[in-house]
Symmetry: C2
Subunit: 312 residues, 2 copies
């Protein structure tokens, strides 16, 4: 197979584009896809400061690298989740990436800074680990973005992630979740703008990007995600994609282009009734403390402190 | 496992209801599900005459039997599709069912009455066989219902069928198709009312109904449907259902209850610009002949006759 662009030998095949790429043209293809996504959805304007949520895995490191390559002002945010045999290693990849590029990495650690980890929080709050983890990360993302004075938070959700989440939401017609599943969530009501610039790249492509760009990333999946329902949705979509390449992109892209507008009113309703959490100030619909402050209280038996931040 | 209703030994398990049933209670369960569906959606009023589209397979014969058991006035409509090694056998099952119950079976035969079969029509019209077949059946369903003076056409689409079609429509966000995917399509603009009373029963349940009720049906699948994209969607949903029983019912039921109303305007648009086909009188949006009359013309090189009907 030859590179679609320059006819040199291809090293990567992207079946849904029915195309192969050589190394340099593939890296350029990824940059183009991300730049196009950012421009189309007005995700980041020139001169704005972005904070990239960095896990140490392929998606988030590819995103950070791509934003830097494209000339955006992008710092990283790493959250240590205290997951044994996983979090220590993921931190190494995030820190090494930042050091090699002399980039700024904001670091928050659940055990050191809040006194709990994902496993203990899940047990204390009677949640599955992925739920306690997601809640903690979303809260820290928002607060670190606002307190650091960033204009926008960028996450490394790729096409496979978004298509699987969308499938789960559609299978249960969770209209409120669907209304919020857009590549850009605008700022407002105490929330920072949040963007997903990788929604045009599949997970095979972000992995290939890292390999070809020489980015070392954590290959191991989180040990606590085994059996996660979204993995089942990914499997189902992969089986369909295998028969009909391009289905995932049509599914997610068609939702954003054609269906999301039907849900606009529902999305607005979701932000009604917000007030500031009396402890941390974050917007919440809960009667008293926000869900994160309640999680901290249950997991530690203590009142939480303000967001502690250390910078590399 | 014991019968959920009477505690006798269960012979059928329905995982999404987390229940087993003995023979009699399972048959009653099926009748209840169908009666509830008919009432909830005002599908058939007492005294109305229904025409049941009968293929000879488990779903359509179960439907016809259930409607008769529930006291509805229901005749059958069998369409011979001229598919070698399949259609002859399917006719035997449909006729035997009708004979045993002294029920009326309207019969239409594509080769005898229109001079073509599914294979030749597909080739002549450059369609896949399932497309030529579906087009022909929909046309004959409508016309036989109207010309026979029936109030409503009933088809045996089950939960698995509808969930798979919905998944295909959702994966491509075919909003116009989604807007028409309701268990009832009201009459109007030259179309008869169409109803799907089996949408609360899965295909394992319609098969079990036939077995336990002593209905002989054609087990063989249509040989022309191999590779049909919907079979891929069924496989994907079955894999998800296996992990999370009830997902299919939640997916289809949630669509009908929560999402369909968002598409109401789009459904209306689909019926704009209809006029009567100058040859057969059927409603069509095509500039001249309706799609079925064009199919007949291409497949036979001849003008079609009015719908011929023979009754058993």
């Amino acid at each position: 197979m030859k590179c679609r662009v320059c006819r040199a030998a291809a090293v990567v095949e992207v079946r849904r584009h029915n195309a192969g790429f050589c190394r340099d043209c593939f890296l350029a293809h990824c940059r183009n896809q991300v730049e196009r996504t950012i421009k189309e959805h007005s995700m980041i304007e020139p001169g704005e400061r972005a904070l990239v949520a960095v896990s140490g895995g392929k998606d988030s490191l590819a995103l950070w690298d791509l934003l830097l390559q494209l000339g955006y002002l992008a710092d990283g945010l790493y959250i240590g989740l205290g997951i044994e045999g996983y979090s220590d290693e993921s931190a190494v990849f995030a820190r090494r990436f930042a050091e090699e590029r002399a980039a700024r990495l904001v670091q928050v650690d659940l055990p050191d800074d809040f006194g709990f980890d994902v496993r203990s929080a899940a047990a204390a709050d009677h949640r599955v680990p992925c739920s306690a983890c997601g809640l903690s990360k979303r809260h820290i993302f928002d607060q670190a973005t606002l307190e650091g004075g960033y204009d926008v938070l960028a996450t490394g959700h790729n096409l496979d992630d978004e298509a699987a989440v969308l499938l789960g939401n559609v299978l249960h017609w969770d209209l409120a979740y669907m209304a919020r599943q857009h590549p850009v969530l605008p700022s407002g009501d105490g929330f920072p703008r949040k963007v997903k610039p990788l929604v045009r790249l599949g997970e095979r492509e972000t992995a290939a990007y890292c390999v070809l760009q020489g980015i070392d990333y954590q290959v191991e999946e989180c040990p606590m995600s085994a059996g996660n329902r979204h993995l089942g949705y990914k499997d189902a979509l992969n089986a369909i994609e295998e028969r009909s390449p391009g289905t995932k992109a049509a599914f997610y892209g068609g939702f954003v282009d054609k269906a999301a507008q039907l849900l606009a009113d529902i999305g607005e309703e979701g932000r009604e009734g917000l007030h500031a959490c009396p402890r941390c100030g974050s917007p919440t619909t809960a009667a008293q403390l926000c869900a994160f402050c309640r999680l901290v209280e249950r997991a530690t038996g203590q009142r939480r402190r303000r967001l502690p931040v250390s910078t590399q």
